[in-house]
C-alpha cells in the first residue's frame, strides 16, 4: 500500500469487494467496541483513511506484546489493520539491522515529523543515566525523548510501557519508569496488559485510522472503551459471586461447577480490561473461563500487589518493615507459619477428590 492510497483502495487491490469491506468495517466496529450501527460511519471514514507512519520502540521488555499481536489469528482483522499502517521501524520485525535500521527510524522521524504514531513496549530504565538498556549505543531514555518530540501521539503497549511492569517490581534495580513518567508534552495512551489483548492494540490503531485521533481515556490513560469495566463486571461467573458460590480450591466441587474464583485470588474485581468480553485466541476463552483467576496483569504494580492466589480481601503488608519484623520474630513466627501451612495442606487434602481415568471417561 502506497502512502497516498486510501484504505479502501488498498483493500480493493487485495481483491476485497465492497461486501468484504462492509464485513471488515462491521468487524472493526466490533473491535472498537462501537455499536453495530456505527459500521457505516466506520466504512465511510476508513474508505478515506490514509496510511499513518508508525515507529515502534522496544525497551525493557520480553517481546510478549509483539508476539501477542503478530501471532494473533491471521489472516484477520488485526492483520489488515496492521497492514494498513506503515510500520517504519520495529527492531524485532524489520529486515534491516544495525545502522540501516536506525537510519530508517531517523528518516521516518524527519519525513513525518509531527504526524507519526510512536508505539512503545517495555519500560525505560532511568537510574544511573539510563545505562541499563541501550540500542545502537543510545540509551532507551534518550531514544524515547528524541522520538517523542516529533510524534503526533505516543501509545504505550503493555504494562511495562504503561506502568513500569515487571522491571518496575520491587526493588526496581534499573529505576524502570513508564512512558508517561517521562513524556509529558505529548498525548500518551496506555494499553496495559501482560501482554495486552491483540484486538485492543489494533482497536486503538483502528480508532486512530478511523477518526484521526485517540479514543477517550480514563484517569490512568487507558481507552475507556476497552478498560471501562472491571473483569468482574463483565465476568460470566459474576452471578455465582452474587449468590455466594465460590471455589475454595482448584479441584473442589465449586471449581468443577465453574463457580466464582474470588477466594482463589482472582483479581477480577479490581482489574480493568476487556478479557471477559473480547477474550483471547480468536475469542476462544480467557483465564477465568479456563479455571484460573485473573492475576490483574493490566493494573499498575500487579507484581507487588501480594500473592496471585490470595483473595483480594487478604491484607497485604508488602515486602518491607512488616517482613523484617516477621524475620526478627524468628523461630516463633516460623513455627506459626509452618503450622498454618500444615493446616492448609490438611484441609486441601480433605477437599481433594481423586479422579481416575475411568471416572473421567464416565
Amino acid at each position: 500500500m502506497s502512502r497516498d492510497e486510501s484504505l479502501l483502495e488498498f483493500l480493493k487491490q487485495r481483491g476485497i469487494t465492497r461486501r468484504g469491506f462492509l464485513k471488515f468495517c462491521a468487524a472493526t466496529a466490533s473491535l472498537m467496541a462501537l455499536p453495530p450501527s456505527m459500521a457505516q460511519g466506520v466504512a465511510a471514514a476508513l474508505a478515506q483513511a490514509r496510511r499513518p507512519s508508525v515507529i515502534w520502540l522496544s525497551f525493557q521488555e520480553c517481546t510478549g506484546c509483539t508476539e501477542a499481536l503478530t501471532r494473533s489469528h491471521a489472516p484477520s482483522i488485526e492483520d489488515l489493520i496492521f497492514e494498513a499502517i506503515s510500520l517504519d521501524y520495529h527492531h524485532t520485525l524489520q529486515a534491516a539491522s544495525g545502522q540501516g535500521a536506525e537510519r530508517a527510524r531517523e528518516q521516518a522521524m524527519r519525513e513525518f515529523h509531527g504526524r507519526y504514531l510512536l508505539l512503545v513496549d517495555g519500560s525505560i530504565p532511568v537510574k544511573d543515566g539510563g545505562v541499563y538498556s541501550t540500542i545502537a549505543g543510545m540509551s532507551n531514555l534518550d531514544m524515547l525523548r528524541e522520538a517523542a518530540q516529533g510524534a503526533a501521539a505516543v501509545v504505550s503497549i503493555g504494562t511495562c510501557a504503561a506502568y513500569g511492569g515487571l522491571p518496575h517490581a520491587a526493588p526496581n534495580p534499573t529505576g524502570a519508569a513508564a512512558v508517561a513518567d517521562i513524556i509529558t508534552d505529548r498525548p500518551v495512551v496506555n494499553i496495559p496488559g501482560c501482554p495486552p489483548i491483540p484486538t485492543v492494540i489494533t482497536g486503538v490503531l483502528a480508532h486512530y485510522l478511523t477518526f484521526g485521533r485517540l479514543p477517550e481515556l480514563d484517569a490512568l490513560g487507558r481507552p475507556k472503551v476497552f478498560y471501562g469495566d472491571t473483569i468482574h463486571d463483565r465476568c460470566y461467573r459474576r452471578p455465582f459471586y452474587d449468590q455466594g458460590k465460590f471455589a475454595h480450591s482448584f479441584d473442589d466441587e465449586g471449581a468443577r461447577n465453574g463457580w466464582c474464583l474470588y477466594e482463589l485470588g482472582c483479581k477480577g474485581p479490581t482489574t480493568y480490561n476487556a478479557c471477559a468480553t473480547t477474550k483471547w485466541n480468536a475469542g476462544t476463552s480467557f483465564p477465568i473461563q479456563s479455571g484460573h483467576g485473573c492475576i490483574g496483569c493490566s493494573e499498575p504494580n500487579f507484581w507487588d500487589a501480594g500473592g496471585l492466589y490470595k483473595p483480594l480481601s487478604t491484607p497485604y503488608a508488602g515486602v518491607g518493615p512488616a517482613a523484617a519484623g516477621a524475620i526478627a520474630a524468628g523461630a516463633v513466627t516460623g513455627a506459626a507459619i509452618s503450622l498454618h501451612n500444615r493446616r492448609k495442606r490438611t484441609r486441601a487434602r480433605a477437599e481433594h477428590q481423586r479422579a481416575t481415568v475411568k471416572d473421567l471417561e464416565k
Partner: protein, 137 residues
Amino acid sequence: MGLDDIGVHVVHGGGNGNGRALLNEVARLLEKLLQTGEGGSIDLAGMPLSGEDYDLLDDVLGEGEVHAEVTALGATEVIEAGVPGVWWITHYNAAEEVMAEFIEVAFCPEILQSPPEDVKEGLEALRARLLEEHLSG
C-alpha cells in the same frame, strides 16, 4: 485422539441472565422494524454470554428457512432464525475463525444485499459487453 475424546464432564452452573436480556432487546428491535422499517444489530461480543445463554438464544430463536453463505474476506454465515426478521450473522476469516458475531433484525440482512456501487459498475460492465457483442456480431 481429539479434544472430544477426552472424558471431561462439564457442569454448567446456569445462565447469567444476559441471554434473556438479549431476547428482550431483539423483541424491541422487531417492534421498531415493523413500525419504522429500520431494525438494528446486536454485537454478541459485547455481552458476557455463558453456554446456557447461547442455548437459551438457540432454543427461543430457533432456525428458519434461509441459510446463506457469503464469500468475501472469508465466509459469512447468514441464518434466518425461527422468528422471521431475526438473523444470525457470523463473520469468519479465511482460517475459519470467528471474527465477529451479530444478531441482525431486518427484513433482509445488509450483507446479502448488492451494494448500489457494485450494481452501477455491473450495469456498466454489462452495457460494455453488449456493445462488444453488437460490434462483433
